[in-house]
Symmetry: C2
Subunit: 118 residues, 2 copies
């Protein structure tokens, strides 16, 4: 049964049924879009891109991005909650690096696609 959304009468019911039956589960859907959303901000891309080169502490990142410590820390927190970065403490300092190869792959793909398009 197709819900009555607006007054459209010419729906291809067969195609819709087929496609609809294979749509993503809600949890997976949210997981996917949340992951992409995390990559959908220039500041976070820069952080991840920098960390893809080497492990860096928060203060290094502020210097690389030329942004406030607070802004960087807030973004790092988001990246942490989405398991995109790992960190270790060393005295006062906290060193961050990419969580795993997936993040690297996503970054590479994004960069490749964006640069190639030129």
């Amino acid at each position: 049964m197709i819900d009555d959304v607006c007054q459209i009468k010419s729906i291809n019911e067969k195609a819709v049924k087929e496609v609809k039956s294979k749509m993503l589960d809600y949890d997976i859907l949210i997981e996917i879009s949340d992951n992409f959303k995390m990559l959908g901000d220039p500041t976070r891309i820069q952080i991840l891109y920098a960390l893809a080169r080497r492990e860096l502490c928060v203060c290094d990142l502020t210097a690389v991005l030329n942004m406030s410590q607070s802004a960087i820390s807030h973004q790092l927190r988001l990246l942490r909650t989405k398991n995109m970065v790992k960190f270790r403490k060393e005295g006062k300092m906290v060193y961050y690096k990419l969580a795993d190869e997936h993040v690297v792959k996503f970054m590479e793909m994004g960069v490749a696609h964006a640069t190639e398009k030129k």
Copy 2:
């Protein structure tokens, strides 16, 4: 020269200089994050996921997603401006499909990563 951002004194200048010199150009940076941002919404993911299966018209999409025609059309417009979908008109109807293999690849990767994580 590293800009004086907050009062941090223990910056690893060498590392910062090295990483900073290899950061992304502004245009590329924005291109990358804009592309990911386009994928960072559940509605758009669903639209792209549906179109990955087969070409569909707007009315079919409203039925598949069970959302208003207006909401779908607005999202399709965004996807069009970012060259993620193509369309063709046939009478009153407008049929959409994915623009190219890149979009498919991104989707596959997102799905794979999200499902595997379980």
